[in-house]
C-alpha cells in the first residue's frame, strides 16, 4: 500500500508518544524499576545483551522453523483433502474440531515425554499452535472454489481431481493458504516462550526470559526480551507480506485494496 506523502511517518507520532509516556511514568509515577523499568534502561539492556541475544534469537527461530514448517507440510495436504472432498471433510472434521480447542500449553507434558528436552519438543508446541490456523484458512480456500471455474477447467481439458486441484483449486486457494500461514506464524511465535520455558535447550528467547531473567528478577532484561520478541515477529510478518502476499494477491488487488 502506498501512502500519500503527508501520511508517511505518521506511525512515528503515537510511537514516540507512547515511549515518552512510558519513560515519564517509570521515572515520576511508578518509581520502581522492578515494577516498570525505564524505556532507556530497556534499550540499554538490549545493547548490553547483544551477543547472547543473537544466539537466543537464532535458536528461537530454529524452534519456530521446525514448528511452522512441519505445520505447513501437514496442514496443506490435509486442507486440500478437506476442502476438495466432502467425504474427507465429514470424516476428519470432528477430530480436527476436538483437537483444535486444546491449548498448545496443554501439550507441553506430552511433548516432554515424547521428545524429551530437545529442539523438537519446542518445535512440537509451536507446531500445535500454527497448525490449526493454517489448516482452517486453507481448506476454506479449497472449499470455496467456484463451481463455474471447476467446470470451465473441465471443458478446457482439466479432467480428474489431480489436474483440477493443480490448475484450478490450488491457484484459487493460494491467497487463503497465505493468510492462514500468516495467522499460523503469528500464533506459532506466541508459543515460542511457552515452548522454551522448560529448558529444552540452553538458548532461546523464551528460555532466557523465563528461566534466567525472571528468575533473577532482572525486569529491564525481561522487558528487553519482550520487545525483541515483538520486533522479530514484526520483521517475520513484514518479510512474509513482502515476499509472499504481495505476489499472491496481485490478482486480487481489485477486491482487497
Amino acid at each position: 500500500m502506498r501512502l500519500p506523502r503527508e501520511e508517511k511517518g505518521l506511525w512515528l507520532v503515537p510511537l514516540v508518544a507512547v515511549i515518552l509516556l512510558w519513560e515519564f511514568s517509570a521515572v515520576f509515577v511508578v518509581k520502581d524499576p522492578l515494577k516498570l523499568p525505564r524505556f532507556s534502561a530497556v534499550v540499554f539492556s538490549i545493547y548490553a545483551l547483544r551477543d547472547v541475544l543473537i544466539a537466543d534469537t537464532l535458536v528461537s527461530l530454529l524452534h519456530f522453523g521446525i514448528g511452522v514448517g512441519l505445520a505447513f507440510a501437514v496442514a496443506l495436504p490435509l486442507a486440500i483433502g478437506m476442502g476438495w472432498s466432502r467425504r474427507v471433510f465429514k470424516a476428519v472434521d470432528p477430530i480436527v474440531e476436538l483437537l483444535r480447542p486444546i491449548p498448545p500449553l496443554a501439550w507441553i507434558p506430552l511433548a516432554m515425554i515424547w521428545f524429551h528436552l530437545t529442539h523438537y519438543a519446542a518445535g512440537f508446541i509451536i507446531f500445535i499452535g500454527a497448525f490449526f490456523p493454517i489448516l482452517i484458512d486453507s481448506y476454506t480456500g479449497f472449499r470455496d472454489v467456484p463451481k463455474v471455474l471447476v467446470e470451465t477447467g473441465k471443458v478446457l481439458g482439466c479432467i480428474g481431481d489431480r489436474k483440477q486441484i493443480r490448475f484450478v483449486a490450488l491457484p484459487y486457494a493460494l491467497p487463503s493458504v497465505a493468510t492462514g500461514t500468516r495467522v499460523g506464524m503469528g500464533v506459532g511465535w506466541m508459543c515460542v516462550v511457552a515452548a522454551e520455558m522448560f529448558a529444552v535447550s540452553d538458548y532461546g528467547l523464551g528460555y532466557r526470559l523465563f528461566q534466567k531473567f525472571y528468575f533473577l528478577h532482572q525486569m529491564d532484561y525481561v522487558v528487553a526480551y519482550m520487545l525483541v520478541l515483538g520486533l522479530v515477529a514484526l520483521c517475520l510478518d513484514r518479510l512474509f507480506r513482502h515476499f509472499v502476499e504481495e505476489r499472491l494477491f496481485r490478482w486480487k488487488k481489485g477486491i482487497v485494496k
Binding site: L149, K154, V155, L156, G157, I159, F167, W251, K253, G254
Partner: protein, 270 residues
C-alpha cells in the same frame, strides 16, 4: 444430410427430496455444420441443462448426444463453452486465460510424447492465444487481470479462451445475459463477425427473442418443463440483419406467439 451434432431422445430426470423431476423429455435436435442455432424457451425449461449435457458436464438419464459421429461421454476441449457467469480464472492474465486450454493440452500431449511442452510449445501457445485475443478485439489487454476488465470484455476473453483449443462446436449459455443492453448489442455483432470468420457451429441458449432473431440461422423453441422442442423456425432474414426491420419484427412476433403458447401451458400445470 450430414449433421454436426445430433441429440437423440434425450431425457433428464433429477431426483430430489420431493421425488423425481423430469427436466427434459425426449429431446431431439440436429445441428448442421457451421450453423448458428439458438435455443429459446420459458425459464426453467431445461435449456441450460441440455447445453450442459452437450458439454459433457451432465449425463442424460437416457438418449444420446452425438458430435461428428461420436457419442459424447464427458467434458472435452472439442466442445468450447461460454458460461453465463463470469468464468475467467481471476489469477491469470487475459493472455494466460486464453492459453489455459492449450497449456492443459500441452501437458497431456507432452506426457504421451515424453516431453514437457518445451519452449517451442510455449511460443506456439502464445501465438495462438494472441490470434484469438485479436479476434475478439482485445489486443493490448493481454497483461490485464480479469478484475481490470468490464463485464463485456470478460465475456470476450471467455469466447477467445473457448475458441483457442479449436473446438468442433461452440456452446454458449446466455453469454451476454449479465452485460448491459448496449454492450450486448455490440457483443452480438462481434460474435457474428467471429462466427463468419471462423465458420464454427454455434449452439446458443438465450431467453431473449431479440437476440435469437438477430443472431440465429434457426431458432429452436423449447416447451415448459419437462422441456422438449416444440418448433424449429428457420430465420430466413438476409444478413447483415437490421434489428428494426419489418421482417425482423414479424419474425419476432411469430416467436413470441410460440413462447406465450408455451407459457400458458406452463400456467395450466401450476
Amino acid at each position: 444430410m450430414n449433421h454436426k451434432l445430433e441429440i437423440r431422445g434425450v431425457t433428464q430426470v433429477f431426483s430430489s427430496e420431493e421425488g423425481e423431476v423430469k427436466a427434459l423429455e425426449g429431446v431431439n435436435l440436429e445441428v448442421r455444420p457451421a450453423e448458428f442455432l439458438c435455443i429459446i424457451g420459458p425459464s426453467g425449461c431445461g435449456k441450460t441443462t441440455l447445453l450442459r449435457m452437450v458439454a459433457g458436464l451432465e449425463q442424460p438419464s437416457s438418449g444420446e448426444i452425438i458430435l461428428d459421429g461420436k457419442p459424447v461421454r464427458g467434458p472435452s476441449p472439442d466442445r468450447g463453452m461460454v458460461f453465463q457467469e463470469f468464468s475467467l480464472f481471476p489469477w491469470r492474465t487475459v493472455l494466460r486465460n486464453v492459453e489455459f486450454g492449450l497449456e492443459i493440452k500441452g501437458k497431456v500431449e507432452g506426457k504421451v510424447k515424453g516431453k514437457g511442452g518445451g519452449e517451442s510449445g510455449k511460443k506456439e501457445r502464445r501465438e495462438v492465444a494472441e490470434k484469438y485475443i485479436e479476434l475478439v478485439g482485445l489486443r493490448g489487454f493481454e497483461r490485464h487481470y480479469p478484475y481490470e476488465l468490464s463485464g463485456g470484455m470478460k465475456q470476450r476473453v471467455a469466447i477467445a479462451r473457448a475458441l483457442a483449443t479449436e473446438p468442433a462446436i461452440l456452446l454458449m449459455d446466455e453469454p451476454f445475459g449479465s452485460v448491459d443492453a448496449q454492450t450486448r448489442n455490440v457483443l452480438q455483432e462481434e460474435l457474428l463477425g467471429i462466427w463468419q470468420r471462423t465458420r464454427k457451429t454455434i449452439l446458443f441458449v438465450t431467453h431473449s427473442v431479440d437476440e435469437a432473431v438477430y443472431l440465429a440461422d434457426r431458432v429452436a423453441v423449447m416447451s415448459a418443463r419437462p422441456g422438449c422442442f416444440v418448433k424449429c423456425l428457420e430465420v430466413d432474414l438476409p444478413r447483415p440483419r437490421k434489428r428494426t426491420s419489418v421482417e425482423a419484427n414479424e419474425f419476432r412476433e411469430k416467436l413470441l406467439m410460440w413462447l406465450s403458447l408455451e407459457r400458458s401451458k406452463a400456467a395450466c400445470i401450476f
